[in-house]
């Protein structure tokens, strides 16, 4: 690939106790592109995405081997502070999980704890900017002090995206961000991903082949802890190289 690489994993192995969840994953994720991870449940794609911001650190039984290099730095080296790392990497989950606070506070929370702004005016400006970037501001500007949980599912998910981008991350990880949303809310999020990719590197886990085909430029297919195939999305969905990939995306068995 000719583009600049943002994330590189080298010989990445992940174990939960004795069980190997990821086996020798070597993957390059290009900067300012959308990379989608597909594969059946339990194939390791969520485990993989959780390695990228060291979220697996919180699981005691989880052991990570190999390297994950983001901008030339191995994120598992001792000098890396996971809290600062996570400020660089935003994450959006399957189920929208706004804090039980107002819409404003949800977005202001990250910049506050990381001390990103110097005044209340500056903070307000950042919150509004983030809500605008997430395509939510126009819909909620009159009720910015209402609870985040009062929003619809699709709006909550966009609130979570606004919260993620408020801390100026470089990478956004999305773990099935649309699986709990209706088609319209999904379309709005996908439209937003198209917009966000101009400034962020995005890695998205999805169970919808059509969504992967629509939003991503690169697709990686995981199966039983292995990276079976990675390539340009268009290629993967029209003429995959591996039979395993083809069988999965076309829904075949036997």
């Amino acid at each position: 690939m000719t583009e600049k690489t943002k994330i590189t994993t080298k010989k990445l192995n992940v174990f939960y106790e004795e069980k190997k969840a990821l086996d020798n994953i070597n993957l390059e994720i290009p900067a300012k592109k959308v990379t989608s991870l597909i594969g059946p449940s339990g194939c390791g794609k969520s485990t993989f995405i959780r390695c990228l911001n060291r979220m697996n650190d919180t699981i005691e039984t989880c052991r990570v081997e190999g390297k994950i290099i983001i901008d030339k730095e191995d994120i598992y080296s001792k000098d890396v502070d996971p809290v600062l790392l996570r400020a660089k990497i935003g994450m959006v989950f399957q189920k929208p999980n706004p804090f039980p606070k107002s819409i404003f506070e949800n977005v202001a929370y990250g910049p506050k704890i990381h001390g990103l702004t110097n005044s209340d005016d500056e903070l307000e400006g950042l919150v509004i900017k983030s809500l605008k970037k997430a395509g939510l501001y126009d819909e909620i500007k009159d009720r910015i002090n209402e609870p985040g949980t009062s929003l619809s599912g699709g709006q909550q998910q966009r609130l979570c995206i606004a919260r993620a981008i408020a801390v100026s991350p470089e990478i956004i990880l999305m773990d099935e961000p649309c699986s709990a949303l209706d088609p319209i809310a999904t379309a709005v999020i996908e439209e937003l991903i198209d917009e966000l990719v101009k400034n962020y590197t995005i890695v998205i886990v999805t169970h919808s082949m059509q969504q992967a085909a629509r939003v991503s430029q690169q697709t990686a297919f995981f199966h039983m802890g292995n990276l079976v195939e990675v390539g340009k999305t268009e290629k993967i969905f029209s003429m995959p190289k591996q039979k395993k990939t083809e069988d999965y995306i076309t829904g075949k068995i036997g």
Binding site: M209, S238, T250, K252, I253
Partner: protein, 217 residues
């Protein structure tokens, strides 16, 4: 061959293939009958060929509707997607080929009878080559055979050179006998229709290869 988890999906794809193959066989018969007219003129047969063309148009519409429904219902990917795309393309090519066969019949209806001084069956020979190559293109689809598909473009080179020969031969006939000009002109149009069927058979073989290899040439 692996099967889909959803068995009705396999049924849909099989129905599409069967429908297209049936349409292909009907078109083959149309070409066969119209090529026959270049040897023995038969007005009632020519009229029949023209009438049959409506049936083929209806088959194309049926395939198109079915393919559209399958696309929206299954949202196919990879080889499944290619199967449906080529079914759409091939059905429209078959419809065009049937039009050419029907045009041959129209020309025959126009000339009504062959002049006594016309003594060549070169256009009929051209027609036989065209039928053979069309049949190969159709079997390459039915059997999903790259090997058969590869032979079609090669044979089309021969068809083109036979067409050129027919063309020159008819020019000479017209120069030698002015009485033949009207008839030979119609025969040249017929030759052109047949040559086009040859070209379109080649396009079918190309679609078959696309389906198997995923590459457009």
């Amino acid at each position: 061959m692996k099967e889909h988890i959803v068995t009705t999906y396999d049924e849909d794809l099989n129905n599409l293939k069967t429908g297209l193959t049936e349409m292909g066989l009907k078109v083959e018969k149309q070409i066969f009958e119209s090529v026959g007219l270049t040897k023995v003129i038969n007005i009632s047969k020519a009229k029949q060929i023209k009438r049959n063309d409506d049936e083929i148009d209806a088959l194309e519409t049926k395939i198109r509707k079915f393919a559209t429904k399958t696309l929206s219902k299954r949202q196919p990917l990879a080889d499944d997607l290619r199967k449906i795309i080529i079914a759409l393309k091939i059905s429209s090519i078959l419809e065009r080929i049937a039009d050419h066969a029907s045009n041959v019949a129209s020309r025959i209806l126009y000339v009504k009878k062959s002049p006594d001084s016309y003594h060549t069956d070169s256009i009929h020979q051209l027609g036989l080559l065209v039928i053979k190559n069309f049949s190969k293109a159709l079997s390459s689809y039915e059997q999903q055979s790259e090997k058969i598909a590869e032979t079609v473009p090669t044979q089309d080179v021969t068809i083109n050179s036979v067409y050129e020969t027919c063309f020159r031969e008819h020019l000479h006939l017209m120069m030698e006998d002015r009485e033949l000009i009207g008839f030979c002109t119609q025969m040249l149009f017929i030759a052109k229709e047949l040559e086009r069927i040859g070209d379109l058979s080649k396009v079918i073989s190309r679609e078959v290869i696309y389906n198997l290899k995923g590459k457009l040439r």
